[in-house]
């Protein structure tokens, strides 16, 4: 009956890692080309490990839940590991999103990559997964075609 499942609702109602870091090592901002929403993710890096992450999101329930889930997933991971996180994994960990809401998880995925990209740029780091990466590119995020 509900629009979202319990896990999504829990991350929406009690989002984890809301806010901004005082001295972030990387900041990623990404706006959704689909619905016009905006997400910011910041990371703190120690060695190669992401020790903290915070987000701010202007968006729908699943965008907020995706941000909360995505930041939770990358804390404690190495940069290389975090770069492997896909929007599909974010969705799976949330127990699924409605098809029309898949792009909200892409928003989180992109914001993470942009935060890491920012970190790499500032610190002269190179990661294979970021080869040729364009932080502003519109991801082709199939949000499920809805028949009107």
């Amino acid at each position: 009956m509900a629009l979202y499942n319990d896990i999504v609702m829990d991350h929406f109602l009690n989002p984890k890692n809301v806010g901004e870091l005082e001295n972030p090592d990387g900041t990623g901002v990404y706006g959704s080309p689909v619905c016009g929403d905006m997400m910011q993710i910041q990371i703190k890096v120690d060695g190669e490990k992401i020790t903290d992450a915070k987000f701010k999101t202007f968006g729908c329930g699943s965008a907020i839940a995706s941000s909360s889930m995505a930041t939770s997933m990358i804390i404690g991971k190495t940069i290389e590991e975090a770069l492997e996180v896909t929007n599909k994994e974010i969705i799976d960990n949330l127990g699924g999103l409605p098809p029309v809401k898949v792009h909200c998880s892409v928003l989180a995925d992109k914001a993470i990559k942009n935060a890491i990209y920012d970190y790499a740029q500032k610190n002269g780091k190179h990661y294979a997964a970021l080869e040729g990466y364009d932080p502003n590119a519109d991801e082709d995020d199939d949000h499920g075609d809805i028949e009107e």
């Binding site: 809301v18 968006g59 009107e148």
Partner: protein
């Protein structure tokens, strides 16, 4: 938990008195109104009575009321029926950018069939420009359709003036009065319209029941083909209980109109005043003048409507939003776009509609929770007054 329903423009509960009238027509008085024995005649009488009740609410003659399956069918019938009937005269329709999808999608379909449609703009207050209307008329124009009351921002269009222009040019005029019925006095004679759509479930009647007013002497093609019901103009065995319910709801709406308008507008204004005074960065969309008495459409800057809706729902409060995120097409509201509201502002819009069962305590409960919810979402939001969008 308290339950506060503030979405009366989406639909309304069926009033007890209405339900009571309807029930016998499901069970003992189930006869087909077309049957010639007493059980059929009894049903036929009930339909006749309902027709009088609906006619009385809009100052029409009963014979000018044709029962349908609701506002959507009435809109479809009006536009397709008019275009079919008048296709030898022309292929141009004039309507507005803010019509309900029942009208807009019908027009889009007709465009694919080779019809031309002009969609009139609205100004920043939410009204069409009569000059633009008159300028749009060509010798191919066969129908003008302008809604009486908009379902999102509640603005009341100058239909009497629109009808006068249509009449001057000899063009058929239809109005979608689904949101207007029972919310403002409607007199079809005074308005001068040829066709008017109404729906039962917006006036405390059952869903799936409505009517098309067709002025005496106006001829449009049929839309549903079959039996001889509704004076041979709308086929199909009557939705008996639905029609009876619509009739009763119309009677109550007529008797209660003044009270209803006063009750709704007082509470709506109270809601507006509290929100504007107590929650910063909030804006009313559309003018407060000439507006549906229960409608309030507000933008809460920097946050998104579906999130607001979901959190209000946690407190048992029901509202709707024009945000792109909450529509299946992920398009922002076409009405607010036409009003010139920037996309990011449309994102944070919430429509509240109060109705007969709303109380002042309900409004206080909503505002108190809304304050916390808006503050919480603004905490989470990546945009704010200093950072901008």
């Amino acid at each position: 938990m308290r339950n506060v329903y503030l979405d009366y423009s989406a639909t309304t509960p069926v009033k007890e008195e209405v339900l009571k009238e309807m029930i016998p027509y499901f069970t003992e008085k189930f006869g087909n109104p077309s049957s010639l024995y007493d059980k059929g005649l009894e049903s036929k009488d009930a339909v006749t009575h309902a027709r009088e009740q609906v006619a009385a609410l809009i100052n029409a003659k009963p014979a000018e009321i044709y029962f349908t399956a609701g506002g959507t069918e009435s809109d479809n019938w009006a536009v397709f029926g008019a275009c079919e009937k008048l296709k030898s005269k022309g292929n141009h329709i004039i309507t507005t950018k803010i019509e309900h999808h029942a009208m807009l999608h019908s027009c889009a379909f007709l465009e694919k069939q080779g019809y031309e449609v002009t969609y009139l703009d609205i100004d920043k207050d939410g009204f069409i420009d009569l000059k633009q209307l008159e300028d749009a008329i060509t010798d191919k124009t066969i129908l003008i359709s302008v809604m009486l009351v908009n379902n999102e921002i509640g603005t009341i269009q100058p239909i009497k003036e629109v009808a006068a222009i249509a009449k001057k040019h000899g063009i058929l005029i239809h109005t979608d009065a689904v949101q207007g019925l029972g919310n403002l006095p409607i007199d079809v004679k005074d308005l001068g319209v040829d066709l008017m759509s109404v729906s039962s479930h917006k006036i405390y009647g059952p869903k799936g029941s409505g009517a098309l007013y067709i002025r005496k002497g106006v001829s449009i093609s049929n839309y549903l083909h079959g039996g001889a019901q509704e004076n041979r103009r709308r086929a199909g065995t009557e939705n008996l209980a639905g029609i009876v319910g619509f009739g009763k709801a119309a009677e109550i709406a007529k008797n209660n109109l003044e009270n209803h308008i006063k009750h709704c507008s007082e509470l709506r204004n109270y809601l507006k005043d509290r929100i504007i005074a107590e929650i910063p960065d909030t804006y009313v969309n559309g003018t407060m003048e000439k507006r549906h008495p229960g409608n309030l459409n507000i933008t809460f800057k920097y946050i998104e409507g579906e999130s607001i809706l979901l959190l209000l729902n946690q407190f048992g409060i029901s509202v709707s939003t024009g945000s792109a995120c909450s529509s299946t097409s992920l398009e922002p509201s076409h009405v607010l776009s036409a009003l010139g509201v920037p996309v990011e502002m449309i994102h944070g819009t919430v429509r509240f509609t109060v109705g007969d069962f709303t109380t002042k305590e309900d409004i206080d409960y909503v505002v108190d929770n809304l304050k916390t919810i808006v503050a919480k979402l603004r905490e989470i939001s990546s945009v704010n007054s200093t950072k901008g969008w």
